[in-house]
């Protein structure tokens, strides 16, 4: 009898809730979903109105890098759903908050090679082509490709896991001791353009394809470039024999209260009509068998390589890439220590370098810090350019001699005087040119941070004239500019554009955050 009463009360409450939902907050809260989305999903923007209408929901998308997004979820950011190109790394993290997940679309990460090269190398319609063959071509310097940084972006990360599995004795990437480090080092010798995001990587590839031979990216991105005719030369997509790893874009429920709305969204996204459209417009593969792969896609067998089963194994792959396999990096940091930097601003800058020398123990921090084999040059400036300091990182531990020296140096900086931006940048290019000549097997980049306008030393035009006089290989060294304080946005943007770099606005995030992002491009 008592349970009967219980059910009755339950039913009454149910009716009450329903009434409240339809009358009150229903339209607003229940139908609006906040989504933390990977930046690789930005190409879905044109489809958003249709998705919202179809599912009867409002979506508020916040875009983020993949590792950054994982960190924000674990830190407890209030969000209803998360949507990344894959969720395996996230699901290996403790406290990932994922309640449910459904795959929405598929795209393998593959290599696109200029058609002329693919033909010359016998890679066209070659079912026996292996990652080993690709590694050999990269090692010999014939294959120069663009690929994102695996510690910042999912396409690079997926490629790293796949290549590691293919180039290991055990046939999977879960045992780092079986990795073929020589083959992997050869493979990454070809990584001529590194970026923190797959979208920016594709943009730069279009602009700089004259000195690149290919790009590693999602199949969908490569096919779209071919379809839209943005390339001087089409890319031939290579699916090596050992296999690839496919991104499956899981839509993940984070807020349990939004389960019903989540289900509506999943049902719409996975409906045959929308899956067909998704395939046609974004060139991603469908996840339901009712929608058949269109003729745009190659029909061959896609061997899927295993993904590691523990966070430890994945992290070891990433550290092995950063510390051993990739071309070592040599960043030049050009830092403003003029009078306006005094006080809090200089302290923020010091925090940046404390973090990069290992004090930031967060998920993103541990990958952004300076790595083994890295050469770091710091050039400070005020009225004039100060003598540069070089630091060779042989031991990346937080308390190592190398890291401590770098920390002590930056912590000892004082701010005073005027702002000679262009003289400092000219010095950086001069030093980088010299370093490059002595050691061409490094990845060179420049970071320029200033909180104001140039008011000492040479002018912008003087600098640009000098830059144009440099040999082509040196001109390809990019300058990443950081907007800070009252930085001159127009000048900083022009500098980044002129050198093929990118602007990072620290005022929207934080100075530390901006530098962390830039680390993905070094």
């Amino acid at each position: 009898m008592s349970t009967q009463g219980g059910f009755k009360l339950g039913g009454l409450l149910g009716v009450l809730c329903l009434t409240l939902l339809t009358v009150g907050c229903g339209q607003q809260a229940a139908n609006t979903l906040t989504v933390l989305a990977g930046s690789e999903l930005e190409d879905l923007k044109p489809l958003l109105p249709e998705i919202q209408a179809g599912a009867g929901l409002n979506l508020e998308l916040r875009y983020s890098g993949s590792l950054d997004g994982a960190e924000r979820l674990v830190a407890g950011e209030a969000v209803d759903l998360a949507w990344f190109s894959h969720g395996k790394y996230l699901s290996l993290l403790q406290g990932n908050r994922v309640i449910s997940q459904e795959k929405i679309m598929l795209s393998p990460v593959v290599l696109g090679v200029k058609e002329s090269k693919a033909r010359a190398w016998g890679w066209v319609d070659n079912p026996n082509l292996t990652w080993r063959d690709i590694a050999a071509k990269a090692g010999s310097g014939e294959l120069r490709y663009a690929m994102t940084n695996p510690a910042s972006s999912n396409s690079g990360f997926t490629a790293l896991v796949g290549v590691s599995a293919a180039l290991s004795a055990g046939g999977d990437a879960s045992q780092p001791e079986t990795l073929d480090q020589t083959a992997l080092k050869n493979f990454f010798k070809g990584q001529t353009l590194i970026a923190g995001s797959s979208g920016w990587l594709a943009e730069r590839y279009i602009a700089e394809s004259d000195h690149l031979d290919g790009m590693i990216n999602y199949e969908s991105v490569l096919m779209e470039l071919n379809r839209d005719g943005k390339l001087q030369e089409k890319l031939y997509l290579v699916y090596p024999k050992e296999g690839i790893i496919t991104a499956d874009y899981p839509l993940m429920l984070i807020n349990a209260d939004k389960r019903e709305a989540y289900q509506k969204l999943v049902d719409f996204l996975r409906s045959p009509g929308f899956q067909q459209k998704l395939m046609e417009q974004t060139l991603r593969r469908p996840v339901i068998p009712q929608v058949k792969l269109s003729a745009d896609f190659p029909k061959q067998l896609l061997v899927e390589l295993p993904f590691p089963n523990s966070l430890e194994a994945v992290d070891r792959l990433l550290f092995s890439y950063l510390d051993e396999q990739r071309i070592p990096s040599h960043p030049f940091f050009v830092l403003d220590i003029s009078g306006s930097m005094a006080g809090d601003r200089l302290n923020q800058l010091k925090t940046v370098f404390n973090n990069l020398t290992g004090m930031d123990q967060s998920l993103t921090g541990q990958f952004a810090r300076f790595r083994e084999r890295e050469q770091v040059t710091v050039i400070t400036f005020n009225d004039e350019v100060q003598p540069q300091r070089d630091f060779q990182i042989t031991d990346p531990k937080t308390q190592s001699q190398d890291m401590m020296q770098l920390r002590e140096y930056v912590n000892g900086l004082n701010a005073r005087g005027a702002t000679a931006i262009f003289s400092a940048l000219k010095r950086a290019y001069g030093l980088a040119a010299q370093a490059r000549q002595n050691d061409p097997q490094r990845y060179y980049s420049i970071v320029l941070m200033s909180d104001g306008e140039n008011n000492a030393g040479i002018s912008q035009n003087d600098f640009l004239a000098y830059y144009r006089s440099l040999p082509e290989a040196v001109r390809r060294i990019r300058t990443f500019t950081v907007l800070f304080g009252e930085a001159d946005t127009a000048t900083m943007t022009a500098l980044a554009n002129a050198t093929g770099g990118r602007v990072f606005d620290s005022r929207k995030v934080s100075l530390s955050q901006a530098f962390k992002q830039i680390r993905g491009y070094q």
Partner: protein, 359 residues
């Protein structure tokens, strides 16, 4: 005048009380027969509970069922069961774990399904040529013993003899779910443990010590595994044999899809019966009376029993199953003879914990 007013008032009162009683009885009866039941289910039963025919049959019995899905073993550990009226897991071991943890007595087993392996025609040819599978009267059987030998020797697909279609360097393994989270993987472990133990149910710690080195590899060497059986089966349907040549699934998943005739199962896709195999019982644990009503309905209502078969499940009534396979031209083993028992709940838990420690 005064009197007639009194009479009128009395009359109104009587009518009012009458209406009130009538409404109350109506309400009582309505509540008794119409309830909403909220439960947690293993993902493999989601389509059953979404089927309009099932929903209608349940409505007829006054039941509106709302479900959320989760890995059967996850249900045991990661959910607040106070929020639900029932849980409906796959497999006795998971049900047993919940029963013990939550001190529940009652349970229903409205249907069951054998563990099977989804594969592909070219793979099956390869397996038959290498003595790992056998065609007996049109039904394909997967031989666990030679398969385990191949796993033990860490053989790869490309090393198999007479191999023209799948010379891939991946290890010979069956794709399963995460054994820490999902019942189908636990069932796979149960049946592999029987074979690894010389065709005996694993019982003692000594047995466990002997079989685990081999069995750990079945799961750890797969790399990342998913938490619920629908995911690898979904991949099977859309990603082809390059993703997984062999996938441990419930027979019901394959049969239901084949009967749907929606192009999901193509002529290239094949179902293999492992030898030996075991049954997964789908166990409904009621958490209150509402849940119990659903358990009764699923077990006793002929229409719901028939619909369960339409979803590929088997139950006491083999006639339903035969009619279903005949109607949809599906090749399925009519009765299975080589069916073993799972190890006890404690033993299976200990084996799973051993694997868990290795992650």
């Amino acid at each position: 005048m005064k009197r007639s007013l009194g009479l009128l008032l009395s009359l109104l009162l009587i009518i009012g009380v009458g209406i009130a009683i009538y409404l109350s009885v109506q309400e009582q009866m309505g509540n008794r027969s119409k309830i909403t039941v909220h439960g947690l289910i293993g993902s493999e039963k989601e389509e059953f509970f979404k089927d309009p025919r099932v929903l209608a049959a349940l409505q007829r019995l006054g039941l509106t069922v709302q479900v959320e899905k989760a890995g059967s073993r996850q249900i045991a550990t990661s959910f607040d069961l106070k929020l639900y009226d029932f849980v409906f897991t796959a497999g006795m071991p998971a049900a047993e774990k919940i029963r013990r943890d939550r001190h529940l007595n009652q349970f229903y087993t409205p249907f069951f399904t054998p563990m099977t392996i989804a594969s592909w025609q070219p793979i099956v040819r390869l397996l038959v040529n290498n003595g790992m599978a056998e065609d007996r009267g049109g039904i394909l059987f997967f031989k666990m013993a030679p398969f385990l030998d191949a796993v033990k020797a860490q053989r790869r697909w490309k090393e198999l003899a007479d191999n023209h279609d799948y010379a891939v360097s991946k290890n010979i393994l069956i794709t399963s779910t995460d054994v820490r989270k999902s019942n189908s993987a636990a069932m796979y472990l149960a049946l592999a443990s029987f074979v690894a133990n010389g065709d005996n149910v694993v019982q003692s710690d000594a047995d466990i010590d002997r079989v685990m080195p081999l069995l750990e590899g079945l799961f750890l060497r797969q790399g990342f595994t998913e938490s619920s059986t629908e995911y690898p089966f979904e991949d099977y349907l859309v990603m082809g044999m390059g993703k997984s040549p062999l996938i441990m699934i419930y027979e019901a998943q394959f049969l239901h899809r084949a009967a749907a005739g929606d192009g999901g199962i193509t002529s290239d896709m094949v179902l293999l019966y492992p030898e030996p195999t075991l049954y997964t019982k789908h166990v409904l644990l009621p958490l209150n009376e509402a849940g119990a009503r659903l358990g009764e309905a699923l077990t006793n209502d002929p229409e719901l029993q028939r619909l369960a078969v339409e979803h590929g499940f088997r139950n006491q009534n083999i006639a339903y199953f035969r009619e279903f396979t005949r109607q949809h031209h599906i090749t399925a083993a009519d009765t299975l003879t080589n069916v073993i028992d799972a190890p006890s709940y404690e033993v299976l838990e200990r084996m799973i914990q051993r694997i868990e420690q290795r992650y």
